[in-house]
Symmetry: C2
Subunit: 109 residues, 2 copies
DNA sequence: CCGTTATATTAGCATTTTCGCATATACTGA
DNA sequence: TCAGTATATGCGAAAATGCTAATATAACGG
């Protein structure tokens, strides 16, 4: 595989590599939301959220729709939602293993 | 979801967000490889590859096994392989859409 | 046209990442 | 123990990222 394709994938992962952007995508995975609604749900600064949205837009992970005064965001390809769901599963496995390890250490103390 | 969990996910994505590390994981998804074998397949500097392996190790995405002189790496959880496979699919969709768009532009020129 | 609301963009700064190079560590066989 | 091979680590510079504060743009109601 040419490196440019790997660069493309790396760029997508890079876009996902921030807690705020993950939060944004988790909210959006339940449906379209306005920028303002996201800002409120996240409880973060307007400019900050807008910048994170710009990152997601640049990678075409989200698309936006202008309606009068507001801008509504949604996830462009549901595959991204699946990636996040897989990540959730991965996280649970990792967590369980860690707990198991701690448990083991407890017993052999 | 607490932000610390999102930070954890973000850290995993961060670890995947580099073309070289994606290449490493794609090679490893076919099975265990020694550091030297990876360096040869990648055609990159030894120290550089070693540093990327360190990133993947720190996030526990890969594990290593020492055998005499060499160190063999493998992917710890197959879920990571699935994430990469999904990414491949995502990439194809995106590519097809882009081509379709270009095609459209061609016809309406 | 004006003030207000919603959103985006810019600039400056601190932090993090990546790379190349040099060096360190670990194991092997003679 | 010594030379050689395999791998890891430390360090400094350059580039990318993220935050805050300020400013810009766009649409609305009056």
């Amino acid at each position: 595989m040419p490196d440019s394709l790997r660069q493309f994938k790396a760029d997508i992962f890079q876009a996902l590599a921030h807690p705020t952007r993950i939060a944004i995508l988790e909210f959006l995975s339940e449906g379209e939301l306005s920028a303002g609604a996201l800002i409120e749900k996240l409880g973060m600064d307007q400019a900050n959220v807008s910048q994170h949205l710009a990152v997601l837009r640049a990678r075409q992970i989200v698309v936006n729709r202008k309606a009068g005064n507001q801008v509504f965001y949604s996830i462009r390809d549901p595959t991204i939602g699946k990636v996040l769901a897989l990540m959730r599963k991965y996280f649970h496995t990792q967590l369980k293993e860690t707990i198991g390890m701690l448990d083991e250490m407890e017993h052999t103390r």
